[in-house]
Amino acid sequence: MTTATATRPAAVSIELDDVSITLGGRPILEKISLAVPAGEFLSIIGASGSGKTTLLRLIAGLWQPTAGAVRVAGSLVAAPSRDVAIVFQDYGRALLPWRTAAGNVSLALEAMGVPKSERADRIHALLTKVGLGSHAEKYPTQLSGGMQQRLQIARALAQGASILLMDEPFGALDALTRQALQDELLLLAADTKATIVFITHDLEEALYLGDRIVALGSNPGRVITDVPVALPRPRHQLATREHPNFVALRRQLFDVIEGLHA
């Protein structure tokens, strides 16, 4: 493993213990209990408004639950920490428009106090890792949607986090770019052994990527289903989707999702 990634495979896990949150008088999440072992790729699906984004913000420590406890690596989450990175769906708003791609990655390293002499190499390594090696001096507006999202991932990796939270990261991208990024993400996941919580509304994407799927109901958000995804790794865009388990899980969960949208 290169020094550029600096993630530590450790017994890190996420624990949600009867977590509820009410915002503006409305209950968004109710009694969510979840345990995510280290290194797992957890896919979360649910209808819009089911509080999926809220869940991520709770794990990240950006918001606090009204009841219950959120724990990361055993300790209570009271504030954001560098160990938990978020990749937002609206990448255009999450990147600094006045810094180049290299500058955006650099922000994470600067925040960590990495000395200037070390930064250049690590930035280059990270950008190359996400396939942006030759675009280091471009501004976000000069990059395509897929490239901007890769840049966000690069910054998240630069953070050195062992937990990666992704909020429908590929939702705003076209199908081809989405597939390419899915596979790249799987490679990164295998390489860094990070714990990943991936939110999507796309059932097939959730199955394709995850080790486990959790379906959230809405109004208020509750765990409806929690099943492991028994599919071989490495995943393959065609082969995996034709695997009998894939089809079976898809059918099983399709009904659940239908029920959620009813």
């Binding site: 978020i86 937002f88 507006t141």
Partner: protein
């Protein structure tokens, strides 16, 4: 591209130039001789005369001295205060009523006060210009800080940026385009207020030169100075607009078409 620009320039100048030419012709043909009106040609020669005898330069220098000093003081204080009430919700709460009470006071209302305290001269004008420029800077700086993309604030929290680093690396660059706009608008206001002070009482600067020309029944000179003041205002605005575009055009968050 160049053709479009040339067309734009032609259209911009067509009407004013035509009006001036017609006006000139009317003057020549009817043989007017007036204490109040002057043909463009006379205004132009009066302009050259003012350049030659140094009065234009002197007056411009005086107005600019007051303009820049007042802008620096009022704008600086407004910027600092705007940062405070932008960052601190408590400060904003404590001050908003007081601001709403003091802000509506027209700057000219302070003119007699300034006159009484400082007498004629630079200090009186700087005082009024500073007061006038303080408010736009205060309001615009506050909104610039408030309107930083919330997603970026979350990013700064997740990355664990310390408050000072967050301010330097996230808030200020994000607010910079709006702060530049505040500077551009503030400069325009400073010019108007400075000239107004000179017209209303202060015996120095371009406004005074304008009034003096009228009082001494030299209409051509009056029109020359009027045009010069307009030209300065236009140049200041356009140059600052250029600067804004050059600084921020490459960013995704700057809307070049919004700037007026």
């Amino acid at each position: 591209m160049i053709r479009a620009r040339a067309l734009g320039l032609f259209r911009a100048l067509a009407v004013p130039v035509t009006v001036l030419v017609l006006y000139e012709l009317w003057f020549r043909l009817t043989g007017q001789d007036s204490d109040t009106l002057a043909p463009p040609s006379a205004a132009f020669s009066a302009f050259l005369e003012a350049v030659r005898d140094g009065t234009l330069a002197t007056a411009t220098g005086q107005t600019f001295a007051s303009l820049l000093s007042g802008l620096a003081i009022g704008g600086g204080l407004g910027l600092a205060s705007g940062l405070v009430i932008g960052f601190s919700r408590r400060a904003d709460d404590a001050s908003f009523l007081a601001i709403e009470m003091l802000r509506p006071i027209p700057s000219v209302a302070l003119l007699p006060l300034a006159l009484m305290i400082f007498g004629f001269g630079y200090r009186m004008e700087i005082f009024v210009v500073a007061f006038a420029t303080f408010w736009p800077f205060l309001i615009l700086t506050q909104s610039a800080v408030r309107q930083v993309e919330p997603r970026l604030i979350e990013v700064s929290r997740i990355l664990g940026l310390k408050p000072l680093s967050a301010a330097r690396d996230i808030v200020l660059p994000a607010a910079a385009p709006r702060l530049m706009t505040a500077l551009r608008l503030g400069t325009g206001i400073a010019l108007v207020v400075a000239v107004t002070c000179e017209i209303a009482s202060n015996p120095q600067g371009l406004g005074h030169a304008l009034m003096l020309s009228q009082e001494t029944l030299r209409p051509a000179r009056m029109w020359a100075f009027l045009f010069w003041i307009g030209a300065i205002g236009l140049t200041l605005n356009l140059s600052l607009l250029r600067l804004e575009r050059w600084l921020f055009a490459h960013r995704g968050d700057y809307d070049a078409s919004v700037a007026t």
